[in-house]
Amino acid sequence: MAFLEIRGVNKSFRLNGKTNSASSLPVLRDINLAIDEREFVCIVGRSGAGKTTLISLIAGLIEPDQGEILLEGKPIQGPGPERGIVFQNYSLLPWMSVFENVHLAVDAVAPTLGEKEKRERTEHYINLVNLGAAKGKKPRELSGGMKQRVAVARGLAMDPKVLLLDEPFSALDALTRGTLQEELARIWIGTQKTVVMITNDIDEAILLADSIYTLASGPGATLGPAARVETPHPRSRSQLGREPGYQRVRRETVSVLVSARSGQGGTSSAASGKAQLN
Protein backbone atom coordinates (compact mmCIF):
# COMPACT_ATOMS: atom_id res chain seq x y z
CA MET A 1 0.00 0.00 0.00
CA ALA A 2 1.17 3.46 -0.84
CA PHE A 3 2.18 5.77 1.99
CA LEU A 4 0.06 8.67 0.77
CA GLU A 5 -2.77 7.89 -1.58
CA ILE A 6 -5.24 10.07 -3.40
CA ARG A 7 -8.22 8.18 -4.80
CA GLY A 8 -10.64 9.59 -7.34
CA VAL A 9 -10.64 13.11 -5.97
CA ASN A 10 -12.87 15.73 -7.59
CA LYS A 11 -13.05 19.33 -6.53
CA SER A 12 -15.24 22.14 -7.85
CA PHE A 13 -15.58 25.67 -6.69
CA ARG A 14 -18.94 27.33 -6.52
CA LEU A 15 -19.52 30.38 -8.63
CA ASN A 16 -21.72 33.23 -7.47
CA GLY A 17 -22.24 31.40 -4.20
CA LYS A 18 -24.80 29.04 -5.79
CA THR A 19 -24.70 25.35 -5.02
CA ASN A 20 -26.19 23.81 -8.15
CA SER A 21 -23.69 22.08 -10.37
CA ALA A 22 -24.44 24.28 -13.38
CA SER A 23 -22.73 27.23 -11.76
CA SER A 24 -19.76 25.45 -10.28
CA LEU A 25 -16.32 25.44 -11.78
CA PRO A 26 -14.60 22.06 -11.79
CA VAL A 27 -10.99 22.52 -10.76
CA LEU A 28 -9.70 19.00 -10.29
CA ARG A 29 -11.16 15.89 -11.92
CA ASP A 30 -10.48 12.29 -11.00
CA ILE A 31 -7.14 12.79 -9.31
CA ASN A 32 -5.34 9.57 -8.43
CA LEU A 33 -1.91 9.52 -6.92
CA ALA A 34 0.11 7.02 -4.92
CA ILE A 35 3.26 8.16 -3.17
CA ASP A 36 5.75 5.91 -1.43
CA GLU A 37 7.39 6.64 1.87
CA ARG A 38 10.55 8.79 1.52
CA GLU A 39 9.63 9.63 -2.03
CA PHE A 40 10.09 13.17 -3.32
CA VAL A 41 7.23 13.95 -5.66
CA CYS A 42 6.83 17.07 -7.74
CA ILE A 43 3.56 18.15 -9.30
CA VAL A 44 4.15 20.48 -12.20
CA GLY A 45 1.53 22.64 -13.81
CA ARG A 46 0.94 26.10 -15.05
CA SER A 47 -0.65 28.86 -12.97
CA GLY A 48 -4.34 28.37 -12.45
CA ALA A 49 -4.17 24.64 -13.11
CA GLY A 50 -5.34 23.86 -9.59
CA LYS A 51 -1.97 23.01 -8.05
CA THR A 52 -2.60 24.94 -4.86
CA THR A 53 -6.08 23.40 -4.65
CA LEU A 54 -4.50 19.94 -4.84
CA ILE A 55 -1.97 20.61 -2.09
CA SER A 56 -4.62 22.28 0.07
CA LEU A 57 -6.67 19.09 -0.27
CA ILE A 58 -3.74 16.99 0.89
CA ALA A 59 -3.14 19.43 3.75
CA GLY A 60 -6.80 19.09 4.69
CA LEU A 61 -7.45 22.82 4.49
CA ILE A 62 -10.22 22.11 1.99
CA GLU A 63 -12.27 18.96 1.46
CA PRO A 64 -12.77 17.07 -1.78
CA ASP A 65 -16.26 16.84 -3.28
CA GLN A 66 -15.62 13.20 -4.10
CA GLY A 67 -12.89 10.70 -3.45
CA GLU A 68 -10.58 10.32 -0.50
CA ILE A 69 -7.05 10.97 0.63
CA LEU A 70 -5.31 8.37 2.76
CA LEU A 71 -2.14 8.65 4.80
CA GLU A 72 -0.75 5.28 5.90
CA GLY A 73 -4.07 3.72 4.89
CA LYS A 74 -6.19 6.03 7.05
CA PRO A 75 -8.40 8.79 5.60
CA ILE A 76 -7.13 12.23 6.56
CA GLN A 77 -9.30 14.32 8.86
CA GLY A 78 -8.84 18.05 8.38
CA PRO A 79 -5.46 19.74 8.63
CA GLY A 80 -2.74 18.49 10.95
CA PRO A 81 0.99 18.82 11.56
CA GLU A 82 1.67 15.29 10.26
CA ARG A 83 1.06 16.90 6.84
CA GLY A 84 3.20 19.97 7.47
CA ILE A 85 2.88 22.57 4.76
CA VAL A 86 5.14 25.34 3.54
CA PHE A 87 2.89 27.97 2.05
CA GLN A 88 3.60 29.76 -1.19
CA ASN A 89 3.60 33.19 0.45
CA TYR A 90 5.52 32.02 3.53
CA SER A 91 2.64 32.85 5.94
CA LEU A 92 5.03 33.72 8.74
CA LEU A 93 3.36 35.40 11.66
CA PRO A 94 4.68 38.97 11.41
CA TRP A 95 4.45 39.69 15.15
CA MET A 96 6.78 36.81 15.98
CA SER A 97 10.53 36.53 15.53
CA VAL A 98 12.09 33.77 13.44
CA PHE A 99 12.66 31.81 16.63
CA GLU A 100 9.09 32.27 17.83
CA ASN A 101 7.63 31.27 14.48
CA VAL A 102 9.51 27.99 14.52
CA HIS A 103 9.02 27.53 18.26
CA LEU A 104 5.25 27.76 17.75
CA ALA A 105 5.42 24.64 15.58
CA VAL A 106 7.71 22.77 17.97
CA ASP A 107 5.43 23.68 20.86
CA ALA A 108 2.36 22.53 18.94
CA VAL A 109 3.67 19.09 17.98
CA ALA A 110 5.60 18.30 21.16
CA PRO A 111 3.71 20.01 23.98
CA THR A 112 4.99 17.58 26.61
CA LEU A 113 8.63 18.43 25.97
CA GLY A 114 10.46 20.60 28.51
CA GLU A 115 11.10 24.20 27.56
CA LYS A 116 14.84 23.55 27.25
CA GLU A 117 14.30 20.71 24.76
CA LYS A 118 11.79 22.81 22.84
CA ARG A 119 14.33 25.60 22.52
CA GLU A 120 17.03 23.18 21.43
CA ARG A 121 14.77 21.65 18.84
CA THR A 122 13.76 25.08 17.56
CA GLU A 123 17.43 26.07 17.28
CA HIS A 124 18.16 22.83 15.46
CA TYR A 125 15.65 23.57 12.70
CA ILE A 126 16.74 27.19 12.42
CA ASN A 127 20.36 26.09 12.04
CA LEU A 128 19.31 23.47 9.50
CA VAL A 129 18.22 26.26 7.14
CA ASN A 130 21.30 28.39 8.01
CA LEU A 131 19.38 31.12 9.81
CA GLY A 132 21.07 30.94 13.21
CA ALA A 133 22.24 34.52 12.95
CA ALA A 134 18.76 35.88 12.17
CA LYS A 135 16.74 34.00 14.76
CA GLY A 136 15.80 37.14 16.71
CA LYS A 137 14.61 39.05 13.65
CA LYS A 138 11.04 39.75 12.67
CA PRO A 139 9.83 38.56 9.24
CA ARG A 140 9.67 42.12 7.88
CA GLU A 141 13.45 42.42 8.44
CA LEU A 142 14.13 39.36 6.27
CA SER A 143 14.62 38.98 2.54
CA GLY A 144 12.28 36.75 0.54
CA GLY A 145 14.77 33.90 0.55
CA MET A 146 15.25 34.13 4.31
CA LYS A 147 11.50 34.18 4.88
CA GLN A 148 11.14 31.06 2.80
CA ARG A 149 13.90 29.41 4.85
CA VAL A 150 11.97 30.17 8.02
CA ALA A 151 8.86 28.69 6.45
CA VAL A 152 10.79 25.53 5.55
CA ALA A 153 12.22 25.36 9.08
CA ARG A 154 8.73 25.69 10.51
CA GLY A 155 7.44 22.98 8.15
CA LEU A 156 10.22 20.63 9.24
CA ALA A 157 9.70 21.54 12.90
CA MET A 158 6.21 20.05 12.64
CA ASP A 159 8.10 16.78 12.14
CA PRO A 160 5.58 15.82 9.46
CA LYS A 161 5.10 12.42 7.89
CA VAL A 162 4.66 14.25 4.61
CA LEU A 163 6.11 17.68 3.96
CA LEU A 164 3.97 19.67 1.55
CA LEU A 165 5.62 22.50 -0.37
CA ASP A 166 3.39 24.87 -2.33
CA GLU A 167 5.55 26.58 -4.96
CA PRO A 168 8.03 27.43 -2.23
CA PHE A 169 10.55 29.20 -4.41
CA SER A 170 8.36 30.83 -7.04
CA ALA A 171 8.61 34.30 -5.56
CA LEU A 172 12.41 34.28 -5.38
CA ASP A 173 15.04 35.47 -7.80
CA ALA A 174 16.85 32.81 -9.82
CA LEU A 175 20.08 32.81 -7.78
CA THR A 176 18.35 32.58 -4.41
CA ARG A 177 16.08 29.92 -5.82
CA GLY A 178 19.06 27.84 -6.92
CA THR A 179 20.67 28.06 -3.48
CA LEU A 180 17.46 27.12 -1.73
CA GLN A 181 16.83 24.20 -4.08
CA GLU A 182 20.22 22.81 -3.21
CA GLU A 183 19.59 23.35 0.49
CA LEU A 184 16.25 21.61 0.24
CA ALA A 185 17.91 18.67 -1.54
CA ARG A 186 20.53 18.47 1.20
CA ILE A 187 17.91 18.63 3.97
CA TRP A 188 15.76 16.05 2.23
CA ILE A 189 18.67 13.64 1.92
CA GLY A 190 19.43 14.24 5.61
CA THR A 191 15.88 13.78 6.93
CA GLN A 192 14.46 11.34 4.38
CA LYS A 193 10.99 12.86 4.61
CA THR A 194 8.25 12.13 2.15
CA VAL A 195 7.82 15.34 0.17
CA VAL A 196 5.11 16.57 -2.16
CA MET A 197 6.16 19.73 -3.90
CA ILE A 198 4.12 21.91 -6.23
CA THR A 199 6.06 23.88 -8.78
CA ASN A 200 5.81 25.54 -12.16
CA ASP A 201 9.49 25.03 -12.85
CA ILE A 202 10.29 21.79 -14.66
CA ASP A 203 14.03 22.07 -14.07
CA GLU A 204 13.41 22.49 -10.36
CA ALA A 205 11.27 19.35 -10.43
CA ILE A 206 13.94 17.36 -12.27
CA LEU A 207 16.64 18.53 -9.88
CA LEU A 208 14.73 17.48 -6.78
CA ALA A 209 12.11 14.85 -7.50
CA ASP A 210 12.00 11.08 -7.81
CA SER A 211 8.69 11.28 -9.65
CA ILE A 212 7.17 14.14 -11.57
CA TYR A 213 3.47 14.40 -12.28
CA THR A 214 2.01 16.97 -14.58
CA LEU A 215 -1.25 18.65 -13.78
CA ALA A 216 -2.87 19.57 -17.07
CA SER A 217 -4.48 22.97 -17.16
CA GLY A 218 -7.96 23.33 -15.76
CA PRO A 219 -10.84 23.66 -15.56
CA GLY A 220 -11.22 20.06 -14.56
CA ALA A 221 -7.50 19.31 -14.49
CA THR A 222 -6.30 15.74 -14.25
CA LEU A 223 -2.91 14.33 -13.39
CA GLY A 224 -0.77 13.03 -16.19
CA PRO A 225 1.43 9.93 -15.96
CA ALA A 226 4.49 9.94 -13.74
CA ALA A 227 7.90 10.64 -15.15
CA ARG A 228 10.60 8.94 -13.10
CA VAL A 229 13.90 10.70 -12.55
CA GLU A 230 16.44 7.93 -11.96
CA THR A 231 19.53 10.09 -11.44
CA PRO A 232 20.80 9.38 -7.92
CA HIS A 233 20.86 12.11 -5.27
CA PRO A 234 22.57 14.46 -4.68
CA ARG A 235 22.21 15.86 -8.16
CA SER A 236 24.05 18.84 -9.47
CA ARG A 237 22.56 21.27 -11.88
CA SER A 238 25.52 21.17 -14.27
CA GLN A 239 25.66 17.39 -14.37
CA LEU A 240 21.89 17.06 -14.94
CA GLY A 241 21.97 18.85 -18.27
CA ARG A 242 24.31 16.26 -19.77
CA GLU A 243 22.24 13.28 -18.72
CA PRO A 244 20.15 11.62 -21.42
CA GLY A 245 17.51 10.92 -18.77
CA TYR A 246 17.17 14.63 -18.10
CA GLN A 247 16.37 15.40 -21.73
CA ARG A 248 13.87 12.56 -21.85
CA VAL A 249 12.02 13.61 -18.69
CA ARG A 250 12.02 17.21 -19.72
CA ARG A 251 10.62 16.37 -23.12
CA GLU A 252 7.90 14.12 -21.65
CA THR A 253 6.84 16.67 -19.07
CA VAL A 254 6.77 19.62 -21.39
CA SER A 255 4.86 17.69 -24.03
CA VAL A 256 2.14 16.70 -21.59
CA LEU A 257 1.76 20.26 -20.44
CA VAL A 258 1.71 21.74 -23.90
CA SER A 259 -0.63 19.17 -25.40
CA ALA A 260 -2.96 19.64 -22.46
CA ARG A 261 -3.14 23.30 -23.28
CA SER A 262 -3.62 23.13 -27.03
CA GLY A 263 -5.49 19.87 -27.16
CA GLN A 264 -2.99 18.32 -29.58
CA GLY A 265 0.35 16.62 -29.23
CA GLY A 266 3.13 19.03 -30.12
CA THR A 267 6.10 17.16 -28.81
CA SER A 268 8.88 18.33 -31.08
CA SER A 269 8.32 22.05 -30.70
CA ALA A 270 7.46 21.69 -27.03
CA ALA A 271 10.77 20.18 -26.07
CA SER A 272 12.59 23.30 -27.04
CA GLY A 273 10.03 25.49 -25.33
CA LYS A 274 10.67 27.38 -22.14
CA ALA A 275 10.80 25.20 -19.10
CA GLN A 276 9.36 27.83 -16.86
CA LEU A 277 5.61 27.85 -17.32
CA ASN A 278 3.59 30.79 -16.27
Binding site: G78, P79, P81, F87, S91, L93, W95, L104, A108
Partner: protein
Amino acid sequence: MTRRIDFATVVLPVLGLGVMLLIWTILSTTVARDLPSPMKTWEESKQYVLNPFFKDVEMNQGIGRFAFLSLIRVAKGFLLAIVIGTPLGFLLGLSVFFYRTFDPVIQILRPISPLAWLPLGLVIFRQSEPAAIFTIAICAMWPTVINTAVGVRSISPEYLNVGKVLKLSRMKTLQRIIIPGSLPYVFTGYRLSLGLAWLVIVASEMLTGAPGVGGFLWQEYNSLVYSHILLSIITIGLIGFGLDRFMGLVEQRFKTA
Protein backbone atom coordinates in the same frame (compact mmCIF):
# COMPACT_ATOMS: atom_id res chain seq x y z
CA MET B 1 17.33 70.37 2.90
CA THR B 2 16.95 71.19 6.62
CA ARG B 3 15.72 74.66 5.75
CA ARG B 4 13.00 73.20 3.60
CA ILE B 5 11.80 70.93 6.36
CA ASP B 6 11.71 73.92 8.70
CA PHE B 7 9.59 75.75 6.18
CA ALA B 8 7.11 72.91 5.91
CA THR B 9 6.97 71.96 9.57
CA VAL B 10 7.39 75.33 11.30
CA VAL B 11 6.75 78.28 9.01
CA LEU B 12 3.56 76.97 7.40
CA PRO B 13 1.82 75.90 10.63
CA VAL B 14 2.73 79.27 12.22
CA LEU B 15 1.30 80.98 9.14
CA GLY B 16 -1.93 78.99 9.56
CA LEU B 17 -2.21 80.04 13.21
CA GLY B 18 -1.57 83.65 12.17
CA VAL B 19 -4.39 83.55 9.61
CA MET B 20 -6.68 82.09 12.26
CA LEU B 21 -5.82 84.90 14.71
CA LEU B 22 -6.36 87.48 11.99
CA ILE B 23 -9.84 86.14 11.15
CA TRP B 24 -10.62 86.08 14.88
CA THR B 25 -9.50 89.71 15.27
CA ILE B 26 -11.49 90.87 12.25
CA LEU B 27 -14.61 89.06 13.44
CA SER B 28 -14.32 90.52 16.94
CA THR B 29 -14.00 94.08 15.61
CA THR B 30 -16.69 93.87 12.93
CA VAL B 31 -19.64 91.47 12.95
CA ALA B 32 -19.31 89.88 16.38
CA ARG B 33 -18.79 92.76 18.80
CA ASP B 34 -19.33 90.55 21.86
CA LEU B 35 -16.54 88.22 20.81
CA PRO B 36 -13.39 89.18 22.74
CA SER B 37 -10.38 89.86 20.52
CA PRO B 38 -7.26 87.69 20.89
CA MET B 39 -5.53 90.43 22.89
CA LYS B 40 -8.47 90.90 25.22
CA THR B 41 -8.79 87.15 25.65
CA TRP B 42 -5.15 86.95 26.65
CA GLU B 43 -5.39 89.89 29.04
CA GLU B 44 -8.38 88.40 30.85
CA SER B 45 -7.06 84.83 30.81
CA LYS B 46 -3.40 85.20 31.60
CA GLN B 47 -3.75 84.65 35.33
CA TYR B 48 -5.29 81.23 34.54
CA VAL B 49 -2.55 80.39 32.07
CA LEU B 50 0.54 81.84 33.77
CA ASN B 51 -0.47 80.36 37.09
CA PRO B 52 -2.21 77.22 35.86
CA PHE B 53 -2.41 75.39 39.17
CA PHE B 54 -3.80 78.02 41.53
CA LYS B 55 -7.00 77.22 43.36
CA ASP B 56 -9.32 79.86 44.71
CA VAL B 57 -12.69 78.11 45.05
CA GLU B 58 -13.88 74.98 43.29
CA MET B 59 -15.04 76.77 40.16
CA ASN B 60 -12.20 79.27 40.06
CA GLN B 61 -8.97 77.40 39.47
CA GLY B 62 -6.01 77.60 37.08
CA ILE B 63 -6.64 76.15 33.64
CA GLY B 64 -4.06 73.41 34.29
CA ARG B 65 -6.02 72.28 37.33
CA PHE B 66 -9.29 72.26 35.36
CA ALA B 67 -7.63 70.36 32.54
CA PHE B 68 -6.25 67.83 35.01
CA LEU B 69 -9.73 67.27 36.53
CA SER B 70 -11.18 66.78 33.06
CA LEU B 71 -8.39 64.41 32.07
CA ILE B 72 -8.96 62.26 35.15
CA ARG B 73 -12.65 62.04 34.29
CA VAL B 74 -11.87 61.21 30.66
CA ALA B 75 -9.33 58.59 31.73
CA LYS B 76 -11.93 56.85 33.88
CA GLY B 77 -14.55 56.92 31.13
CA PHE B 78 -12.07 55.86 28.46
CA LEU B 79 -10.74 52.95 30.55
CA LEU B 80 -14.29 51.78 31.19
CA ALA B 81 -15.00 52.07 27.45
CA ILE B 82 -12.05 49.92 26.40
CA VAL B 83 -12.47 47.43 29.23
CA ILE B 84 -16.01 46.77 28.00
CA GLY B 85 -15.47 47.52 24.32
CA THR B 86 -12.42 45.33 23.62
CA PRO B 87 -13.90 41.97 24.68
CA LEU B 88 -17.19 42.94 23.05
CA GLY B 89 -15.33 43.65 19.81
CA PHE B 90 -13.52 40.30 19.96
CA LEU B 91 -16.82 38.46 20.50
CA LEU B 92 -18.41 40.28 17.57
CA GLY B 93 -15.43 39.49 15.36
CA LEU B 94 -15.16 35.84 16.38
CA SER B 95 -18.78 34.73 16.41
CA VAL B 96 -21.16 35.19 13.50
CA PHE B 97 -24.01 34.32 15.87
CA PHE B 98 -22.98 37.04 18.29
CA TYR B 99 -22.49 39.48 15.44
CA ARG B 100 -25.93 38.85 13.94
CA THR B 101 -27.51 39.16 17.37
CA PHE B 102 -25.88 42.34 18.62
CA ASP B 103 -24.74 44.29 15.59
CA PRO B 104 -28.19 45.87 15.04
CA VAL B 105 -28.31 46.96 18.69
CA ILE B 106 -24.86 48.51 18.39
CA GLN B 107 -25.74 50.31 15.18
CA ILE B 108 -28.74 51.83 16.96
CA LEU B 109 -26.86 52.82 20.12
CA ARG B 110 -23.83 54.19 18.30
CA PRO B 111 -25.26 57.44 16.88
CA ILE B 112 -26.87 58.54 20.16
CA SER B 113 -25.51 61.88 21.38
CA PRO B 114 -23.90 62.27 24.82
CA LEU B 115 -26.57 64.88 25.50
CA ALA B 116 -29.13 62.09 25.37
CA TRP B 117 -27.16 59.62 27.50
CA LEU B 118 -26.34 61.99 30.33
CA PRO B 119 -29.86 62.45 31.74
CA LEU B 120 -30.23 58.67 31.67
CA GLY B 121 -26.95 58.36 33.58
CA LEU B 122 -28.23 60.84 36.15
CA VAL B 123 -31.43 58.83 36.52
CA ILE B 124 -29.49 55.59 36.98
CA PHE B 125 -26.66 56.81 39.23
CA ARG B 126 -28.30 59.84 40.89
CA GLN B 127 -24.89 61.52 41.06
CA SER B 128 -23.22 63.68 38.48
CA GLU B 129 -19.74 62.10 38.59
CA PRO B 130 -20.69 58.49 37.76
CA ALA B 131 -23.25 59.80 35.28
CA ALA B 132 -20.52 61.74 33.46
CA ILE B 133 -18.20 58.71 33.39
CA PHE B 134 -21.05 56.48 32.19
CA THR B 135 -21.78 58.94 29.39
CA ILE B 136 -18.15 59.15 28.31
CA ALA B 137 -17.80 55.38 28.36
CA ILE B 138 -20.95 54.58 26.42
CA CYS B 139 -20.23 57.20 23.76
CA ALA B 140 -16.52 56.45 23.41
CA MET B 141 -16.87 52.67 23.33
CA TRP B 142 -18.08 52.16 19.76
CA PRO B 143 -14.92 52.82 17.76
CA THR B 144 -13.11 50.28 19.96
CA VAL B 145 -15.90 47.73 19.54
CA ILE B 146 -16.15 48.17 15.78
CA ASN B 147 -12.43 48.38 15.03
CA THR B 148 -11.67 45.35 17.18
CA ALA B 149 -14.37 43.34 15.41
CA VAL B 150 -13.08 44.43 12.00
CA GLY B 151 -9.51 43.63 13.09
CA VAL B 152 -10.46 40.11 14.10
CA ARG B 153 -12.37 39.52 10.89
CA SER B 154 -9.60 40.88 8.69
CA ILE B 155 -6.90 38.58 10.03
CA SER B 156 -5.45 36.94 6.97
CA PRO B 157 -6.76 33.40 6.41
CA GLU B 158 -3.11 32.45 5.81
CA TYR B 159 -2.32 33.08 9.47
CA LEU B 160 -5.39 31.14 10.55
CA ASN B 161 -4.33 28.28 8.26
CA VAL B 162 -1.00 28.12 10.11
CA GLY B 163 -2.99 27.67 13.32
CA LYS B 164 -5.15 24.98 11.69
CA VAL B 165 -2.19 23.00 10.37
CA LEU B 166 -0.57 23.16 13.82
CA LYS B 167 -3.91 22.14 15.37
CA LEU B 168 -3.66 24.96 17.91
CA SER B 169 -6.38 24.96 20.54
CA ARG B 170 -8.96 27.77 20.41
CA MET B 171 -7.24 29.43 23.33
CA LYS B 172 -3.79 29.24 21.72
CA THR B 173 -5.17 30.47 18.39
CA LEU B 174 -6.64 33.45 20.22
CA GLN B 175 -3.42 34.19 22.13
CA ARG B 176 -0.88 33.61 19.41
CA ILE B 177 -2.74 34.58 16.23
CA ILE B 178 -6.03 36.43 16.67
CA ILE B 179 -5.08 38.88 19.40
CA PRO B 180 -1.65 39.90 18.04
CA GLY B 181 -3.06 39.96 14.51
CA SER B 182 -5.84 42.36 15.38
CA LEU B 183 -3.84 44.64 17.71
CA PRO B 184 -3.20 47.35 15.07
CA TYR B 185 -6.95 47.69 14.53
CA VAL B 186 -7.62 47.57 18.26
CA PHE B 187 -5.26 50.47 18.86
CA THR B 188 -6.79 52.48 16.04
CA GLY B 189 -10.07 51.92 17.87
CA TYR B 190 -8.49 53.13 21.13
CA ARG B 191 -7.22 56.28 19.48
CA LEU B 192 -10.64 57.10 18.03
CA SER B 193 -12.31 56.24 21.34
CA LEU B 194 -10.03 58.56 23.28
CA GLY B 195 -10.81 61.35 20.83
CA LEU B 196 -14.52 60.77 21.34
CA ALA B 197 -14.13 60.60 25.12
CA TRP B 198 -12.48 64.01 25.08
CA LEU B 199 -15.25 65.31 22.84
CA VAL B 200 -17.88 64.08 25.27
CA ILE B 201 -16.22 65.52 28.39
CA VAL B 202 -17.30 69.05 27.61
CA ALA B 203 -20.93 68.13 27.13
CA SER B 204 -21.05 66.04 30.27
CA GLU B 205 -19.32 68.66 32.42
CA MET B 206 -21.54 71.40 31.06
CA LEU B 207 -24.67 69.48 31.99
CA THR B 208 -23.46 68.31 35.40
CA GLY B 209 -21.57 71.47 36.35
CA ALA B 210 -18.61 69.37 37.44
CA PRO B 211 -15.30 71.20 37.88
CA GLY B 212 -13.22 70.80 34.72
CA VAL B 213 -12.60 72.59 31.46
CA GLY B 214 -16.15 72.05 30.23
CA GLY B 215 -17.71 73.03 33.55
CA PHE B 216 -15.55 76.14 33.66
CA LEU B 217 -16.60 77.04 30.12
CA TRP B 218 -20.28 76.82 30.95
CA GLN B 219 -19.90 78.74 34.22
CA GLU B 220 -18.01 81.56 32.52
CA TYR B 221 -20.68 81.75 29.82
CA ASN B 222 -23.29 82.18 32.53
CA SER B 223 -21.08 84.81 34.22
CA LEU B 224 -20.71 86.65 30.89
CA VAL B 225 -16.88 86.30 30.92
CA TYR B 226 -16.65 85.43 27.25
CA SER B 227 -12.87 85.48 27.01
CA HIS B 228 -12.77 82.45 29.31
CA ILE B 229 -14.97 80.56 26.88
CA LEU B 230 -12.26 81.07 24.30
CA LEU B 231 -9.58 80.09 26.80
CA SER B 232 -11.47 76.85 27.47
CA ILE B 233 -11.99 76.15 23.80
CA ILE B 234 -8.30 76.59 23.04
CA THR B 235 -7.34 74.41 25.99
CA ILE B 236 -9.75 71.67 24.88
CA GLY B 237 -8.33 71.78 21.37
CA LEU B 238 -4.69 71.65 22.46
CA ILE B 239 -5.25 68.77 24.87
CA GLY B 240 -7.30 66.85 22.31
CA PHE B 241 -4.49 67.32 19.80
CA GLY B 242 -1.93 66.12 22.35
CA LEU B 243 -3.98 63.04 23.24
CA ASP B 244 -4.39 62.11 19.59
CA ARG B 245 -0.67 62.46 18.96
CA PHE B 246 0.11 60.35 22.00
CA MET B 247 -2.28 57.57 20.96
CA GLY B 248 -0.93 57.82 17.43
CA LEU B 249 2.53 56.96 18.77
CA VAL B 250 1.16 54.05 20.78
CA GLU B 251 -0.72 52.84 17.69
CA GLN B 252 2.45 53.04 15.60
CA ARG B 253 4.22 50.74 18.02
CA PHE B 254 1.71 47.99 17.33
CA LYS B 255 1.83 48.17 13.56
CA THR B 256 3.15 44.75 12.72
CA ALA B 257 2.87 43.60 9.14
